[in-house]
């Protein structure tokens, strides 16, 4: 039986066959895979393929397809148990630690799992055939081990107005033409993580909708290089350091993430790729289901936290401060925060449940509590890391100065701290902390932690909806004799 799992090399080759329309710094990018700014993000996704091939990681990284029985990459798997959900959380930590950044592939997995639930439920109400159609698509994704971009966030225009009242109707992605063989859509999806490293793009609506918004209540999947799809690469703090050569100033010399604005300019979607069409009453369910899965996915930040804690401890040792009691206490604090994050992603998975389609879903309350913690703790962990690292992290001259015969000798002399540690190693670990807390990787570790999978207030709304206050009041009143 052929195993539908690609190697990292096969994945890279598959991306070279795509014909994406990508713009960056005002110019069309001709060679997306080898572009020095984009390539580290491709390396991170490639790691999701590489680890699935390794015996020491396949227990987490691979799964058995419930539709074909074949061994597949877990990123294409539909969760069949709470154990699958727990393994998903563990996979996030593993890959976060392996890459030290956003590895981009979770969002497609979350879109697939959400659609496996909602297409089934739409069919149950309306007698449509979305679920069977979805399973055919899923098998295609699994058999070819594809990376999917799960695209939910519309630009949203004027936040006070629903989609159908927007002055510019394209602020929310919508259908503009219905044909016998499919539909034509127009709009855009913002902040699309890993879009340029994806074979497929799975579109979902972004907010709950009413009947007037039915033209916006659509979900579908397309090859990422379909005609009419345009990608405009997002900037990251310090991104052009990747163009400077050298290997020090990037901090993370191997991996990175990326986001892009994805424009769909009158794009044709064949019917067999459409998974929701104007069933506006199921949009809220799709948004909530996807969001819960994706809030669980922030288990990756625990892995990045592992890297940052390791870097902070190393910096302390290189600075010669590791025995100071306040430094030790700060390392403890960082670990306590990081493991608290881990508790949340494991808990929402362990307390998951089976949906009517058979897919296992996370505990929504706990997933939202977990993500709410993620909006806060990485900032505090970063603050502590910067505290331990010292100001040199942001005042240190460049690698080119360090390599220069004239300036380098002074840097070598005056940035030497622990006599057993080469000055270059001290600079490298400080650059890694800089990278994660205010460089390119801070996009993923900090601001993505804040706004990715929904901004903090979105989780607070879900927490207020899911908490049973009445039962808590009953418990309190019983104990103090109130009848």
């Amino acid at each position: 039986m052929r195993m539908p799992i690609m190697t990292a090399e096969q994945y890279e080759d598959s991306l070279r066959r795509l014909n994406l329309v990508v713009y960056m710094f005002g110019e069309r990018v001709k060679d997306v895979v080898d572009n020095p700014i984009i390539r580290p993000s491709m390396n991170a996704v490639a790691r999701t393929y590489e680890l699935a091939q390794r015996p020491e990681h396949e227990d987490i990284m691979a799964a058995t397809s419930h539709i074909t029985g074949k061994k597949i990459n877990r990123f294409t798997h539909i969760h069949q148990s709470t154990n699958d959900l727990v393994k998903k959380s563990k996979m996030g930590r593993l890959l976060g630690r392996e890459t030290g950044c956003c590895f981009q592939r979770c969002v497609g997995m979350d879109a697939l799992n959400a659609l496996s639930i909602v297409t089934f439920n739409i069919d149950a109400k309306y007698g449509t055939g979305y679920y069977k159609r979805f399973l055919r698509y899923l098998e295609y994704v699994q058999e070819n081990d594809l990376t999917c971009d799960g695209a939910m966030t519309d630009p949203k225009g004027d936040r006070r107005l629903p989609p159908h009242q927007q002055p510019d109707p394209d602020q929310f992605l919508h259908v503009v033409e219905e044909r016998k063989d499919g539909i034509v859509v127009r709009g855009a999806k913002a902040h699309q993580t890993g879009a340029l490293n994806s074979h497929e793009i799975i579109i979902m609506p972004t907010i709950s909708m009413r009947e007037e918004d039915r033209d916006y209540a659509i979900s579908f999947a397309l090859p990422s290089d379909s005609q009419g799809i345009i990608y405009i690469m997002g900037r990251q703090s310090c991104d052009t350091r990747k163009l400077e050569g050298g290997s020090m100033d990037q901090g993370n010399i191997m991996f990175g993430g990326h986001e892009a604005l994805v424009v769909l300019d009158n794009v044709f979607v064949p019917w067999d790729r459409v998974f929701m069409y104007k069933e506006y009453d199921f949009v809220g369910q799709l948004v909530e289901t996807f969001a819960s899965y994706h809030r669980q996915s922030y288990s990756c930040k625990v892995g990045v936290g592992d890297v940052l804690i390791g870097a902070a401890q190393t910096a302390a040792e290189y600075n010669g401060t590791e025995r100071a009691s306040h430094i030790r206490d700060k390392i403890i604090e960082m670990n306590q925060l990081n493991e608290t994050l881990y508790c949340g992603c494991i808990a929402c998975a362990s307390e998951g449940h089976k949906e009517p389609s058979g897919t296992y879903s996370v505990n929504t309350l706990l997933a939202n509590v977990h993500k709410q913690n993620v909006t806060r703790f990485p900032y505090e962990i970063s603050r502590l890391a910067q505290d331990i690292a010292g100001g040199l992290m942001v005042t240190m001259p460049s690698e080119k100065d360090f390599r220069s015969p004239e300036a380098g000798k002074w840097l070598e002399k005056y940035f030497k701290a622990n006599p057993d540690v080469p000055t270059e190693d001290r600079m490298r670990i400080l650059r890694l902390i800089e990278n994660i807390t205010l460089g390119t990787a801070a996009v993923g570790y900090l601001t993505e932690s804040m706004h990715g999978a929904g901004s903090p207030q979105a989780q607070r709304i879900m927490i207020s909806r899911r908490v049973n206050l009445q039962q808590k009041q009953i418990a309190a009143k019983k104990l103090c004799g109130i009848k």
Partner: protein, 87 residues
Amino acid sequence: MRIGLKYCGGCNPEYDRVALVRHLEVRLQGKAELVLPADRDVDIILTVNGCSIACADVSLFQQMEIRTITSFKDGEDFIKEVESINM
């Protein structure tokens, strides 16, 4: 002796599992062979776990004798066990 080697997923290992397995291969050379767990004629399954949770999936090997390692010390104990069998 043929030992079917099964790792946990390695999400947060407390030691280098791969280094331990290399150590086992060296120490058990000539006494035992580490092979894929699905191979035929495996005498025993050895799970190498990164921590005490020991979550390596052994559902396919329920009928077989299983040894569990969660630390380097466990590895040394396993070496002694194999050596005692081979004496």
